[in-house]
Symmetry: D2
Subunit: 403 residues, 4 copies
Amino acid sequence: MSRPVRIAVVGHAFMGAAHIHAWRTAPRFFDLPRHPEVAVLVGRDEARTRAAADRLGIAEIETDWRAAVAREDVDVVDICTPGNTHAAIAEAALAAGKHVLCEKPLANSVAEAESMAAAAEEAAARGVRTFCGFSYRRTPALTLARTLVEDGRLGEIRHVRAQYLQDWLSDADAPLNWRLDRETAGSGALGDIGAHSVDAAQWVLGDSIAGVSALLHTFVPTRPVSGDAQGLGGSGDASGERGPVTVDDAAAFTARFAGGAVGVFEATRYALGRRNANRLEINGSRGSLAFDFERMNELEFFDGDDPTAEQGFRTIHVTDADHPYAGNWWPAGHGLGYGDLFVHQVADVVAALDGGEPVRPDFREALGVQRVLHAVETSAADASRFTPVAGVGPDSSGEEAEG
Amino acid sequence: MSRPVRIAVVGHAFMGAAHIHAWRTAPRFFDLPRHPEVAVLVGRDEARTRAAADRLGIAEIETDWRAAVAREDVDVVDICTPGNTHAAIAEAALAAGKHVLCEKPLANSVAEAESMAAAAEEAAARGVRTFCGFSYRRTPALTLARTLVEDGRLGEIRHVRAQYLQDWLSDADAPLNWRLDRETAGSGALGDIGAHSVDAAQWVLGDSIAGVSALLHTFVPTRPVSGDAQGLGGSGDASGERGPVTVDDAAAFTARFAGGAVGVFEATRYALGRRNANRLEINGSRGSLAFDFERMNELEFFDGDDPTAEQGFRTIHVTDADHPYAGNWWPAGHGLGYGDLFVHQVADVVAALDGGEPVRPDFREALGVQRVLHAVETSAADASRFTPVAGVGPDSSGEEAEG
Amino acid sequence: MSRPVRIAVVGHAFMGAAHIHAWRTAPRFFDLPRHPEVAVLVGRDEARTRAAADRLGIAEIETDWRAAVAREDVDVVDICTPGNTHAAIAEAALAAGKHVLCEKPLANSVAEAESMAAAAEEAAARGVRTFCGFSYRRTPALTLARTLVEDGRLGEIRHVRAQYLQDWLSDADAPLNWRLDRETAGSGALGDIGAHSVDAAQWVLGDSIAGVSALLHTFVPTRPVSGDAQGLGGSGDASGERGPVTVDDAAAFTARFAGGAVGVFEATRYALGRRNANRLEINGSRGSLAFDFERMNELEFFDGDDPTAEQGFRTIHVTDADHPYAGNWWPAGHGLGYGDLFVHQVADVVAALDGGEPVRPDFREALGVQRVLHAVETSAADASRFTPVAGVGPDSSGEEAEG
Amino acid sequence: MSRPVRIAVVGHAFMGAAHIHAWRTAPRFFDLPRHPEVAVLVGRDEARTRAAADRLGIAEIETDWRAAVAREDVDVVDICTPGNTHAAIAEAALAAGKHVLCEKPLANSVAEAESMAAAAEEAAARGVRTFCGFSYRRTPALTLARTLVEDGRLGEIRHVRAQYLQDWLSDADAPLNWRLDRETAGSGALGDIGAHSVDAAQWVLGDSIAGVSALLHTFVPTRPVSGDAQGLGGSGDASGERGPVTVDDAAAFTARFAGGAVGVFEATRYALGRRNANRLEINGSRGSLAFDFERMNELEFFDGDDPTAEQGFRTIHVTDADHPYAGNWWPAGHGLGYGDLFVHQVADVVAALDGGEPVRPDFREALGVQRVLHAVETSAADASRFTPVAGVGPDSSGEEAEG
């Protein structure tokens, strides 16, 4: 039997736990060339990291990511920390010859992302792979959407309509946390969830956003400082002290794609009642698609080639044996959940090692997303003026570079 | 019994027929102070007008609107012609002391709309009423939405998300018609359907759009010239001649409302599969609303005051006896149709005559919509730069002026 | 121009008003061979009938239906009264050579229905038409459903799932009215709404129910007697007197169709929250259909011939120009309402006169529904034992008799 | 740390794999009193069992369940084999003092189920627990439904409407497999999926079915015999040989609950397009509920106490921190999948050991389901005559016996 793939997971909050669950589960449902094993969990605080490791079933820990990255017995470094730490860890790992799976957004600035993409390109020449965790691509429904577009079933694409709506900040007295701090998070709704919309739209279309006209807004400029700055649940402490929110609460922008489509994007955490409505609708000359992650097992497909009197959006329950990923799980109609996307992600990563099909999005493609986010911020700061996205053009499209 | 209200209807295409049906039906279902009767149908071509009058059951016709407007036996002039004719007819009617119901958009330019609003104001002093036909306001679900917002059930409004999606131009070989001609129609999707979204959003919120950042796009720049330039159904004639489309195919813009809400608007006739998806979603600090005209009898309402574990968008079937307009029709659950909105509209108009509650939107309020459309076109022509809407401010809000 | 069709409408409550609206509206939207006019309104109480006639715009009234039926100037008698009056009026009208449109259910007993069907057959030989008002057939979505089944798009039919759910009796203190009285109404939910399900299922399938196993139940055996026994809104008068409910509150039955399909039917007025959910789902070997009148403009169609990965129920918005009836109204996507079904019904009736295509369902076909209702009552009274429907067999199927 | 719970899993097909995944995952997301570990996998064929154990990550195997049941190091026996083997394994395990988790239906006959329930009662006196795997109860939405009913939010229950619709037998040439064989499977759609509906309805209502009137039907009496009799995918072998289907393809029955509600149940594998539509709707005097497993993260709740004009079915996305089970997983709006139900199930089982809250349904409660299935078969064989369910009455209700 082939030797296992050994992983160092950096970070053990929500996202770290999701990844570890995925590494453990993938080989039970997917036929992988090598068996993945989480070798070590990395966290700054020894006691908390040890507790997490025990809960998550991992034997070894490190408190210094540099040590983890240098370990002989590590093949993949899996980065699940906030965006301000990504560049340093990823570049050290690549330098040490480790494959890297890095959470999104790739970095907190275009400069960092460019540096990471350059390091990735250099490492790729040595057979080292990079991957950015835009996990929603692993939704079977969105993968099917991509296939339908690729197969020409939508014809020429005219409209993209992407909304990522959450509501966990609707209460103006919900406390501050790191996601509301520009230094740590880079941006607010834009980078946290809008980035997913940008990535999904570009990927499903096989096209790049060429320019944007944007608006950013912060509805609640200060929030209670809680004792535990990570917390969200409470309403702040008794002191009544409030600290500044330094990121956007909501982002909205129109976009033009290189291929001619018009896009409308919106990301917010103030859409009361929309818990996690990651929506994408695409209209083409031959067909249309609509997706909402709150119904993640469904894809709406309108086939303009149907006889007129029988046309309608059909709700495809994307759980059949011949749907992407779905055949590895349950019988038709028995839906998947959010956690299963991470299983798909690591299964794809493992399959890409040792000369497998390159895994997407790599750092270069994720840099493309970062550049869109940057153009959004630039436009918003310039009275919403239309702002081109750097690097998108006949010679520089990420899509073409990969093809 | 009181004397009847006698109406001159100008125009006998789709919209004229809808209005005439409404005038005939309203007194059968609504308890009106006076009985409406269509006294005369006005059209340029005598033979066609006569044929329409026969089909629609109207005894008299006129081929010159000036003659109709001047008739002693006419109380209301109902204008159902393209936008380039509105100002002349309406102003003549007002000068003659007739109440005016004018189809939307009020005019093809702000200048015309301002002139009409001024004439309306002057006429109002003489007890003459004006009304602009934003008929979607008469949807019971949207009227209920307005009430919920007014009652504070949504709290502070943060987001407005308005889409008006149609698809009848998806086929690039559908022929030219007057709606694609700037001279006649004023604009394309923007004025035809986007105007409805602007009006509905401002009305339901009781707020005004303060500025916009916009994009207009024409996907198909030329289309087949058909023998019958009014036609849409065919694919052009054999000659293969194509003429220019001089209006927008699609409009998209972000908006800031005077009260602080952020809006995202989109109007298009290229959203394949969306036959008439006039959608409005509003998120506030206490609640949210969602509406789609393709399900016009339903309103989605999320009440943030519900216990957390029981929160969800509830689908209100707006057909109960205590819902707006609905009690005049059928038992609960027996929905209304598009044509019924016009019945509500004329019932409201008749109720407003003779000192009744002023009817909304009057010309002044419709001018407010026109100014938003104008700001959209200005921004789109200026690289999407944020553009304030004229007349919106502490001293000039249409909403305040009425209150 | 041809002479008009002159109608006597018997009854002026909810259903009479709906019919009169339809007679008035049909010639404005449908191209009819003759122009219908309501010549006379019939009601027992002179004052109330006169008031209704004024409101509904009808010049003449009669207080004795016998006089109306005998009038020279009447071509069609339109019966909108409770079921216990149908047979006498219809048979007199047929004897007088009048066409008859009779509300459903055809009668309160099979014996009456058989007598009416015999009279209809005799009259048919003289060119006189009969028609029973199962108005839901006139829903464009259900007509499309019928066509799809007829065209074999569903293959062999296996399952029929019909529910007619209302909730207006959920409150145990809603007052008694005539629909709760066996003498007047014949039965309860079974005949009032279950009859629609039986008719729709048999018609869409082109098949007949061969036998049933049924359960009838009355949840609330007594209800307050109100001063106005017609009323529903209040909670009874102060006396606290309650009278007996003598009909079923709910009916549920399994069924076997002559062609081999299995059916499950349910009708109730206690399904809280379901205002008028008249639902029909059909599963065949090649396709499936689902309909819910609360979304009357939509039909769900699953085409088993689609590629597996693209299969799904498609929501057809049945408002296109090439959908049944829809082309006579508004542009695509602009839905119809409940009242419009009656317009379709009378348009079909007018088209059937003077040698037009026979109109369905005629009395004979409506008798078939009555026999199913009778079998349901028989089975329910016999411990739910399977009970064959009279007249269904190789030689007696209503369907075959018409073919 | 407490000693682990060691499990023997009997069977390694679809259901065995789901259980093993659950045992492995539960301690990572749920705070359990003891850590579960699958100690041994049991299968008849050594090579296949070994291969499955390797894939599923289990070190030890047994080929004789008697040996597994007797092992000192086993605490729980988890039975994932067809119904004809349940009684022998479960009773031996109980006799050996092992807790037992047994897949549903509990047995293939009432006699076996009664014997198992008696053994369970005897074992319970020794502190040994039994549990039957009606996994759908572990859906957060259904658990919430149960709570709402229990809290009286629906008032008096009038209607239950349960459908379990699948479509994997729609193709008349799909091959025979063990689920179509009465000897192995006990019954067809009735026991396989109808049993889930019966269990869910009785559990959510906290009531028992008192009697039924039923119809069973087999649409396709013979099917191709494939070389691999377990297979479903192909269309049989070249020989063209067909074997008999000895179970029901579809079951439909009306029911009366002890508490007065009326039920309508349907189970089929021929509802083309319904992949796994396990639906439950309940109407009470104060509220209603609707659930469909194809949208397993949603519960529809109609609250009759809402103001009339605001009433509607609300779609609760059952993924909030304060929803059952959901708080252990992801942030709100990030839905769960089918596989996660088994995680909930084993977490509940582990919590019930060592004196924890008794786990439901135990064998006695599962026997109640078996008796309903038996009454259905009895009624269907007796012309659908109403047939009481054994053991349901003032002194024998399963619900009361537990309370």
